[in-house]
Amino acid sequence: MEVLKNLEIPSHLNLIQSFEYGADAGIYKLNDNTAIIFSADFFTPVVDDPYTFGQIAVANSLSDIYVCGGKPLLALNLICFPKKGIPREVLEEILKGGLSKMKEAEVLLVGGHSVDDPEPKYGLAVVGIAHPEKIITNKNAKVGDLLYISKPIGLGILITAYKGNLFNKETHLYNKMINTMTQLNNKLAEIMIEIELKCATDITGFGLIGHALEMAIASRKNLIIYTHKVPYFKEAKEFIQMGIIPEGDYQNLSFCKKNAKIHPKVSEENLILLCDAQTSGGFLVSVPPEKREIFEKKTKEKNISIYLIGEIKNSEDECPTVEILP
């Protein structure tokens, strides 16, 4: 982050990962068998149902641990909520929703902190563990790896359209959107650990291309993404045509245009979709070709949707990038 650039951040021999290359969790080696993973995330409501918002916020917070190949163990609630103006029951529902997801993930809620704030916010600080040799980062993409994502994109645009009442709770689209955002990334993480994958990132605020660019730079490789292979909510494309595009997507798009190599046949609409900020999004996983079969088999067995969208190539330039093909 820009504001951190002038700070002198202390380092340590046991520190496996700090916030370089956009990492969302810090990882510290305790001994040869255990590293602790520490992360926090919270945000303003994305839907008006408090219980569902709580579930989404927790799924999103836990994802930062899962994507490192970790198992989350303990969590603290991070709460901003006004003392007056919104009924206390709303906060109770948010926390109930959050706790339901922590139970599903077998994470222990051990406390939290709340601040009086006119604009509600909720999320978690989470501690998890992993084996130091099995840490997954965005630095380990290798030439020839295949790129998969695990959730369709377009969630940021759908959230904006939902806030504008362009669809309601009674629709199939609402259910699909909620199911996607409340879905934990735990089962995918278990498979990634089991078959010893080394490289992944979660797709959140910078959109697919933003996080792919971080992986390209961290791994010093080029990521090739085939637009027609990327799964998305088809309604999101309709909303893009209507001009229902959140501000953050324009910032992501501008960053993408400056840093990615974009094939002239990729439409502006598709680019916006590829840059759409996700909330509780899926993972972008780099899979060595020899592990492709087992990865696809195990995800199918556990009923996890994954989509092959690209591959890793050598970076010919000094500055690695993402090549976006039609």
Binding site: A161, G164, L166, M242, G243, I244, P246, E247, Y250
Partner: protein, 73 residues
């Protein structure tokens, strides 16, 4: 009289929704929209095109934009 839709100070997707609503309701052939962010400008241009209206002019006025749109292609 010129019909002006002032969506300054509103955040996404409100400017687009108000513009589309005004287009639906109006009996005028030309409308002006006042906006104050780059995001609203881009979004409204898309929205106007999606309902087959045409952008006549986008004028920068200090810290805002005035978009003039017409029914006629």
């Amino acid at each position: 009289m010129i019909e002006i839709i002032d969506v300054r100070g509103l955040s996404c997707p409100e400017p687009v929704l108000r513009t589309l609503e005004a287009i639906k309701k109006t009996d005028k052939e030309t409308l002006q929209i006042l906006i104050d962010t780059e995001t609203s400008k881009e979004n409204i241009i898309r929205a106007v095109n999606s309902v087959k209206w045409k952008i006549l002019e986008v004028k920068k006025e200090l810290d805002s934009y005035r978009i003039i749109i017409t029914k006629h292609q």
